[in-house]
């Protein structure tokens, strides 16, 4: 909250909840993301200045939207040198009714999300824009999240906004025939934010709670906006069921704790109940997809009172379905973990050895574990070493090194 000096908890909450809505509303109105972002920021600065003495208005979101909109109109009037611009601003002002509810803010946010996640933008720019414009993260916060210098991140965001304007990337929800593909892109961006928080690829932290929370918040917004899309429900369920186990995922020393050794009393029962309800809803719809199946796998795990109670036959069946939907080596690798439980580590190792994933550290970590269980210690040590070479996450490194060093 670097841009909001003196922002207290109430304003911080309003900021997180309203920033994206205000940006979306202004972008829809004025067609400029730059103007929308800047005026929203200014409206919050004014809120920080006035609310402590005047009190928080009854409808903070409406106050912010009207304030930001008026600032935008002022800016346009000031900057307009041509009569046409004056007329445009006057026309917009004429339609202003401060008492009226802000029109279909939810639609505007959905449009903003699809614009931020347009496939013509680089994936890292999609993530950055989404976090900045919808999540309201400041540029330093987004830079920090992805461990790039602030200047680099500022340039990345500026360049993306410039491309949206210059190339005339449309500000709209895609048409029906484009929707499935475009929605996949949006889901991928949100899940990328989540996985970066759940298992950061680098940096000093084993888990980044802030990024997980932001991804779940975006997932909830999307679910609210597209309640009939099963994959949207699936992604939210997947994130909730994964995040529910967060407190049990690291030990006191910060090392990763695998599912079999986690203290299940630390799992968040409320998140699990919410996730399970979503998974049940997906089952009822019976239109399975990638995220729904991953959520279902996590539902099986979170349903088991103890590791020994896990219904591995069900997990394996779900991975078979997932592989049919997403036939990638990474899915095959995760499926192999279930194969090990159902048919034994030797069968699983045969599956794993056939995969071409040499640069992917979970491949070596999985292989190492299977070799360890088969009593092939020297090969297991070599595999742990290879996995350690490939990951910078401190929690994972501590876990892998611990397992390796425990081998004879």
């Amino acid at each position: 909250m670097n841009d909001l000096p003196g922002g207290d908890a109430a304003i911080e909450r309003v900021y997180r909840a309203e920033f994206g809505k205000v940006v979306a509303s202004l972008a829809g109105r004025f067609g400029s993301l730059d103007l929308a972002e800047e005026m929203t920021q200014e409206a919050f600065v004014e809120a920080v200045r006035r609310w402590p003495t005047e009190g928080v208005p009854p409808n903070p979101g409406g106050w912010l939207t009207v304030t930001a909109r008026n600032k935008a109109l002022d800016r346009l009037r000031r900057e307009s040198t041509r009569q046409a611009r004056h007329e445009e601003a006057d026309m917009l002002a004429a339609h202003e009714d401060p008492g009226a509810p802000v029109t279909s803010v939810t639609d505007e946010r959905l449009r903003l999300l699809f614009t931020c996640c347009h496939p013509a933008l680089a994936p890292e720019a999609q993530v950055a824009l989404t976090l900045r414009l919808l999540g309201g993260l400041t540029v330093p916060e987004v830079a920090n999240a992805f461990l790039v210098p602030e200047r680099t991140m500022a340039q990345r965001i500026t360049r993306a906004k410039r491309k949206i304007a210059a190339a005339n990337i449309p500000y709209r929800v895609p048409r029906d025939h484009e929707l499935p593909g475009r929605l996949r892109g949006v889901l991928a961006v949100i899940y990328l934010v989540f996985t970066e928080g759940h298992l950061p690829g680098s940096g000093e932290h084993g888990i980044r709670d802030d990024l997980c929370a932001e991804a779940i918040r975006l997932g909830r917004v999307l679910r609210e906006l597209m309640p009939d899309e099963p994959e949207v429900a699936g992604l939210l369920a997947l994130m909730l069921l994964t995040d529910a186990r967060r407190a049990a995922r690291l030990d006191a020393g910060g090392a990763l704790v695998t599912l079999d050794l986690q203290d299940r009393s630390l799992w968040d029962r409320e998140l699990i109940a919410e996730g399970h309800a979503l998974v049940r809803e997906c089952l009822r719809r019976n239109r399975p997809g990638h995220y729904q199946l991953l959520a279902a796998v996590n539902a099986v795990h979170t349903d088991a009172p103890a590791f020994a109670d896990t219904d591995w036959g069900q997990v394996l069946a779900l991975y078979d379905q997932l592989y049919a939907v997403t036939p990638t080596p990474v899915v095959a690798l995760n499926r192999a973990v279930a194969v090990a439980e159902v048919r034994g580590p030797a069968s699983a190792l045969a599956v794993v050895d056939a995969l071409d994933l040499d640069g992917y550290h979970p491949y070596h970590a999985t292989r190492a574990d299977l070799l360890r269980r088969l009593g092939r210690a020297p090969e297991a040590v070599a595999a742990y070493d290879r996995a350690l070479e490939l990951t910078a996450n401190p929690a994972e490194r501590a876990f892998l090194a611990g397992r390796r060093d425990a081998l004879p």
Partner: protein, 119 residues
């Protein structure tokens, strides 16, 4: 409406025979491209289009000094050079990308989409 340059890129030294080794395939690509051009005219997206001779037919002229200086060959030494292009008018980038996808299929080449500066 925005105007876009849809450019097709080839290896610098590629001849038409390299790009379309099979003569039947070459004829099919030409025919498909011609048909696509016709569709652009009908739909109102057409502004201009053309195929270019190979980059070694290019000449660079530098008129910024007292006397113009001419140099043989293309300006860019890049391995990939523009082989042809369309200039189209589209409602937005989504429409331009959809047209580029069809153009790409027609001419059997990858297409770069780049907006013109407006007004």
């Amino acid at each position: 409406m925005t105007q876009y340059l849809l450019s097709v890129w080839h290896d610098r030294d590629a001849t038409p025979e390299d790009i379309y080794p099979d003569p039947a395939e070459r004829e099919a690509a030409y025919a498909a491209t011609g048909a696509f051009n016709e569709e652009l005219r009908t739909s109102g997206n057409w502004v201009f289009a053309g195929g270019l001779h190979s980059p070694n037919t290019a000449t660079v002229v530098d008129g910024t000094g007292n006397e113009p200086v001419t140099t043989d060959g293309p300006y860019s030494e890049a391995k990939e050079q523009m082989g042809g292009f369309w200039v189209i008018e589209a409602a937005d980038l989504d429409e331009a990308l959809a047209l580029a996808a069809r153009g790409s299929k027609a001419c059997r080449g990858r297409v770069e989409v780049r907006p013109f500066q407006g007004e």
